[in-house]
């Protein structure tokens, strides 16, 4: 009798466990299903909206990588190819040459190349660029705004929470679909989004 009783008890617990198990399974399934309907099934990545960024320089120091995944990019289609590039030269620079004392970029990552009178081409050496945005500030304030910061996705680890985004004072960071992972300006942007 006592044995029977304990057997019943065990059975009851088994049934209870089984139904709870099913319930939990349904709950996990339900939540996932609900989310799937609202999911676009695409991966998302971090990107900077260049129209919001204020070049606070946090991008160069707050990335989890030893060298920030944020680099300056150049929309050549918008560039004036100016001799006196306000992204390249220190304000009030004594001469417009490639002397380090005249350059705005602290690492000399912007390369200046003569094209034809009076035009010069500027390219960014991403190995050297630290993403400080000094040149971006110069170009945006006095030039065409063809230099701006972007998260480079060959470098970015796609942190679940980007540690720069957390400290970005202008909230310029947002998640964008991995299929169109850049927010570009000029013709480059038009090409990219099509």
């Amino acid at each position: 009798m006592a044995e029977n009783d304990s057997k019943n008890k065990v059975n009851r617990r088994d049934v209870m466990r089984f139904s709870l198990n099913t319930f939990a399974g349904l709950a996990v399934g339900g939540v996932s299903g609900m989310l799937i309907t609202n999911s676009n099934s695409r991966e998302m990545v971090w990107q900077i909206d260049p129209n919001v960024c204020i070049q606070c320089e946090k991008c160069s120091t707050n990335c989890v990588l030893p060298q920030s995944a944020v680099k300056c990019v150049h929309s050549y289609s918008m560039c004036g190819y100016c001799d006196l590039c306000s992204g390249y030269l220190e304000p009030g620079a004594v001469s417009r040459d490639t002397g380090a004392e005249n350059q705005l970029c602290p690492t000399g990552a912007i390369k200046r190349k003569f094209i034809e009178d009076p035009y010069f081409q500027y390219t960014i050496d991403e190995e050297l660029c630290i993403g400080c945005g000094k040149c971006v500030k110069g170009c945006g304030s006095f030039g065409n705004g063809s230099l701006y910061l972007q998260v480079r996705h060959d470098l970015c680890l796609n942190c679940n929470e980007c540690s720069i985004a957390r400290s970005c004072p202008s909230q310029a960071y947002r998640r964008v679909p991995a299929d169109s992972p850049y927010i570009l300006r000029g013709d480059e942007g038009a090409k990219n989004s099509s």
Binding site: A24, S86, G92, F142, E161, R166
Partner: protein, 439 residues
């Protein structure tokens, strides 16, 4: 023409000092018409790494979960489990740098549930749900070998000390607190705290902020004597896994057949996850029944009281939200309480958004925090009561069993069991029965 341009440019540089301006797209200089056959370089746009790996990651996760369950329940092999664990540590940890992580996905899921504007990728849903589904069937085999955070702690276990059950119970409340906070913060959009305070991700990336590394190193040092401290006393995902594992359809058993109460496995679990036999009914039955009755009466009071406390607490907590703290800064600057501006307030003023708009947003978020605080506090109160009830109700059981909630299914304890040794052919059945008699 060229001269004029150069002149304007120099004037620009001389007259204006770079001041606070949003970098705007203003065509101050015309785009050049090149005479030579110069063509503009193309702006390179490298593809995100994640696109390469997203399905492969999923494949690795499913394979690893299946293998871990197979090793734990069918092969009962610690060696194979260990090798799989090392592989997952290398793959999810050091190779994928620890950011495709079911532990953190709790936050993405909560944000997606509460914020319709946030779209969650299907792979993240899978990373959240698959370990839970596997746990519902096989127990926490995810923790045994797949989780990189668990694995990095598992490899440093050196001389695990016994944590007294009472301390373990009390410390075991921290994950509930952590989970509640993480869900509150994520669902209100205040940030992902599990990721911010992830102690081991710095190792996977060979670099992180000083605090992160310090936290990680101290946890690993602690982990040599207290096995898997993060898993047992912090991990928020572990809370959900624990619930699922209690309901699991199949769960590892220490012995492959019947427990002979030889006590050989008693101290084999570094995580204190082995339940000892409870032979007798508790001495003071009447007392514990009375205690239970009181608990049941107190339950609604505790739940409501906790809810109230946390709904108050959550208002200062909401200051962690960017919008709320920005609104506070703007307010104190506008009313002259603080002088000077910060980068945040400058950026806000330059953005052209109105102060009213900002304040409205901030008060919506504060309200969300208040509501969230009620739920979070009530949840904690409920958990505390349930824990106490669970501790008071002592169920009689005769065998040494792995606790279905806290056991990680790591397969360590199996080989201590003489019956297992018989199964493996390392021991004579007669010898085993002698052990049984001698005890």
């Amino acid at each position: 023409m060229i001269k004029v341009k150069k002149l304007i440019m120099s004037l620009n540089i001389l007259l204006f000092k770079p001041s606070f301006v949003l970098s705007q797209v203003v065509e101050r200089f015309p785009k050049p018409d090149f005479q030579s056959d110069y063509t503009r370089p193309l702006l390179q746009t490298p593809e995100p790494r994640i696109k390469l790996y997203e399905y492969f990651d999923l494949f690795v996760l499913i394979t690893a979960l299946s293998l871990a369950s197979y090793f734990a329940l069918k092969l009962r092999s610690r060696t194979k489990m260990f090798l799989l664990m090392i592989f997952c540590l290398l793959y999810f940890g050091f190779f994928r740098k620890g950011c495709i992580c079911p532990v953190g996905s709790v936050q993405n899921v909560s944000l997606a549930l509460f914020d319709a504007a946030y779209t969650i990728p299907a792979t993240v849903i899978a990373f959240f749900a698959l370990p839970l589904v596997f746990t519902l069937f096989f127990g926490r085999t995810f923790c045994a070998a797949v989780c990189p955070l668990g694995a990095i702690q598992d490899v440093v276990i050196f001389k695990p000390a016994v944590v007294s059950p009472w301390i373990a119970q009390v410390l075991g409340m921290i994950p509930y607190l952590y989970l509640g906070l993480a869900v509150l913060f994520a669902s209100t959009g205040a940030g992902f705290i599990i990721c911010q305070y992830d102690p081991f991700v710095g190792f996977f990336r060979f670099g992180a902020s000083f605090n992160m590394i310090a936290l990680g190193i101290s946890l690993l040092i602690l982990g040599t004597v207290v096995a898997r401290p993060y898993c047992r006393f912090l991990c928020p995902y572990g809370v959900i896994l624990n619930w699922m594992s209690r309901l699991s359809k199949w769960h590892v058993t220490i012995t492959p057949a019947e427990c002979i109460n030889c006590r050989l496995c008693e101290e084999s679990c570094p995580f204190g996850a082995i339940n000892m036999p409870v032979m007798e009914h508790p001495v003071n039955r009447g007392k514990s029944i009375r205690f239970l009755a009181v608990l049941f009466i107190l339950l609604p009071v505790v739940v409501m009281g906790n809810g109230w406390v946390f709904s108050r607490l959550s208002v200062p907590l909401s200051g962690q939200h960017f919008t709320v703290s920005l609104a506070a800064k703007i307010q104190s600057e506008n009313s002259g309480i603080t002088t000077g501006t910060t980068e945040e307030t400058d950026a806000f003023r330059a953005s052209g958004k109105t102060v009213e708009e900002l304040f409205r947003e901030a008060s919506v978020i504060r309200q969300k925090f208040r509501t969230g605080g009620w739920i979070f506090g009530g949840f904690l109160g409920l958990i505390i009561c349930l824990k106490l009830i669970n501790l008071t109700v002592i169920r009689r059981h005769d065998d040494y069993t792995a606790d279905s909630g806290t056991c990680f299914s790591c397969a360590r304890c199996f080989s201590y069991c003489p019956i297992e040794q018989v199964r493996l052919g390392n021991m004579d059945p007669d010898e085993a029965s002698k052990i049984k008699k001698s005890r």
